[in-house]
Symmetry: C2
Subunit: 423 residues, 2 copies
């Protein structure tokens, strides 16, 4: 079953906003056998909307649109859809009621612009949006091959809420599907994409045609995704289980995790399985490692806290890094990050800690320590490992790579120190 | 001048990876008068690539593609483009040399899969990629209306490097443009989108047809972008300056910043202008505020550091929050965040600090303090302001909103305390 997505908004085409809705919608539909064949990102422009809707309805039974439903003048999706599907714009009292409720909760007064959002095409059936003022509109085409177009608001929080709670259930009952797609992801580290592809070549070539392997490199990591298409979900899953076991055996020490998880999630699961607590001491990563960890729901079970020691003074005051180490070796040095990591454990009472100190750039580089030089340490009950890395790229990329590398260092340290800790 | 973008990769259509390349390309081209009329996100599928390339070449003089150029079996873009533009795949020795260089820098050995990336269509002119192994391929169509298609690698770091340094300069000399587009953004806070639209309605309606206003709501903020199209850049800029001045006057206290900047950037500029230093004390935001600040290049001038006090124990140990305050009022309370903020200043020596403590969810909510309840404080040399907020949405959204709100609270505190600080 094919679906097409249309993302509407001038702000996306000048790159001021990054679209996350298409990814969310695709991820949500994939488990039910829906394949997104196309995402079109277009302007708030009547011609562009007309053309994209026409093409999408030709290629897919389901077309999902987001955006262009706001109360302001640049939001024209509704009137263009009304023109395409017929009927006229008319006030829907149930939408007016919903808008009033949303505004009551937010403690603000309804005004006439927002009230106009209750005007919907008579050709649409309305799905209420309990978390925003733009209603969801469900259109069906005439003729033998009935297709559905669902227009949703573009604010990601609203899109996610209305799709999960109302649109997806209705799509599933409208198009019951015999087809099934199964995805399985395995995480790999410390190997290049091409070296990995060569190692997996024989196994990959022997895969049956309904199984497909995709390489998804991320900074410091590769995700391998095995996709299977078929009719019998149980059989397909069993087949993918068997192939995944072969794959993991081929990966050897480069195998990181069976599943699609971030390094922070993998570390947290490792910590929880062993009943351990965690802390951070960050200089160049500036709080990003703590942020990645605490972004995971339930992280408070293992995460105690940390210190962002951006200035040398804070490294001394809050982490007790020795002044003479800082003076003789500089802040970006192995002894400094080792002291930081060990001190983070002492200061917070955590079992495990990581520390970073480096030059994220664009300034601050020297001949000896160019931009991208980062010292990283991980410590677990007195055993400390550390290394100096040279990451390519701009500031954001150096911070990203250093954070991932620190998390991977902690995962490997825990696994090597305590082999009973489950992968 | 119209451009189309095609983003190629199965991983994008199942939502495993979020496309950031299209936004980057659009942002880079906009100042030179290029309008991106369409972004197509398609699978690693020959038919989809053929169709997208055909449609894009029909509508635009310049088509940019990213992705599908890797060394693995799922990367088929190159062979499909060879089929469309003619010629055959042949090894380009200069690309082989470049790949060897890239591998030498990374300290890994060349293997045959990577070596195959040096095979390029004879119909393409090659642009070397100094930061990766997939070369950039520049194709030109035959016939009277010559169009250009540039195929670039999909790893964002590589895309950004090759586009900025090689592709964009070549496009600008290939298509010298008489047209110019000017964008200007103004940041607004503490007002709803519809209330703002009503306030601006008369001014917006009086704008000449070549000027256009767009509303870009972000959590806790609205960006207003004024776009102008014309031939005379100086005249257009002067016109947009005049309209922006009127707009800022209409915004009154809701005016936050003249320019497109994140709250962290605005705070850092305010701090630098006044020669002040900054620190954080984060519970529920878990390091995100420190991360947002330290993501900005040059932040080390103002940012001293901070504490992520996720557990109550760390709040007491590292920030000296009083045990009886925690016991009687709970960690999510105004006195706790005020103590945290003031203590962050004392511990680091900073002039200004913010602190957060709240329930990011999904667990941990109570009837009195449901998920989304966040106490936030900002302090500047002994003057502390604080408030309790209720943010809607999931964990990521609560962390995001709380971080933005804390930064805005610090910006407003500095402006109100010291009116000499420039906006």
């Amino acid at each position: 079953m094919k679906a097409s997505i249309i993302i509407i908004g001038d702000e996306l085409l000048i790159g001021q906003v990054t679209d996350t809705n298409s990814g969310f919608l695709a991820r949500s539909m994939a488990p039910y056998g829906w394949e997104v064949s196309n995402v079109r990102t277009i302007a708030d422009d009547p011609d562009a909307i007309r053309e994209a809707v026409r093409d999408a309805l030709e290629e897919s039974r389901v077309v999902l649109t987001t955006g262009g439903l706001g109360p302001t003048k640049d939001d024209i999706t509704k009137s263009v859809l009304c023109e395409i599907f017929g009927g006229e714009l008319r006030e829907d009292p149930s939408v007016t009621e919903n808008i009033k409720n949303v505004f009551r909760k937010r403690g603000i007064k309804l005004n006439e612009l927002t009230a106009a959002q209750a005007w919907v095409p008579t050709s649409a059936s309305v799905i209420q949006n309990p978390v925003g003022t733009a209603p969801v509109m469900w259109f069906e085409t005439e003729g033998p091959r009935k297709s559905v177009l669902v227009a949703m608001p573009g604010v990601p929080f609203e899109t996610e809420h209305v799709f999960t709670n109302a649109v997806l259930p209705r799509l599933l009952s409208r198009f019951p599907s015999p087809d099934v797609i199964v995805h399985r992801t395995v995480m790999v580290s410390d190997i290049s994409e091409s070296a990995l592809a060569m190692r997996l070549s024989d196994w990959e070539s022997a895969l049956p045609p309904h199984l497909h392997l995709a390489y998804l490199p991320k900074p410091g990591l590769i995700r391998l995704r095995l996709d299977g298409h078929g009719h019998d979900e149980e059989q397909l899953k069993a087949e993918i289980d068997r192939e995944t076991a072969k794959l993991i055996a081929l990966l050897g020490d480069n195998f990181l995790y069976d599943g699609d998880a971030t390094p922070a999630e993998i570390l947290l699961r490792t910590l929880k399985a062993a009943g351990l607590t965690f802390a951070t001491a960050e200089s160049c990563t500036g709080g990003n490692i703590a942020h990645l960890i605490t972004s995971v729901a339930g992280s408070s079970e293992s995460m105690l806290g940390g210190v962002v020691s951006y200035s040398n003074d804070v490294k001394k005051k809050l982490l007790g890094v020795k002044a003479d180490t800082l003076e003789t070796l500089g802040a970006v040095s192995i002894p400094v990050v080792e002291q930081m990591a060990e001190s983070a454990c002492r200061a917070t009472g955590a079992d495990v800690a990581v520390a970073t100190s480096g030059i994220a750039g664009p300034g601050g580089g020297t001949k000896q320590k160019p931009v991208g030089t980062v010292c990283i340490a991980a410590t677990f009950r007195g055993q400390t490992v550390s290394d100096t890395f040279h990451f390519p790229g701009n500031r954001a990329r150096v911070i990203d790579r250093a954070s991932t590398t620190a998390l991977l260092l902690a995962i490997r340290l825990l696994r090597n120190t305590n082999p009973s800790i489950t992968k």
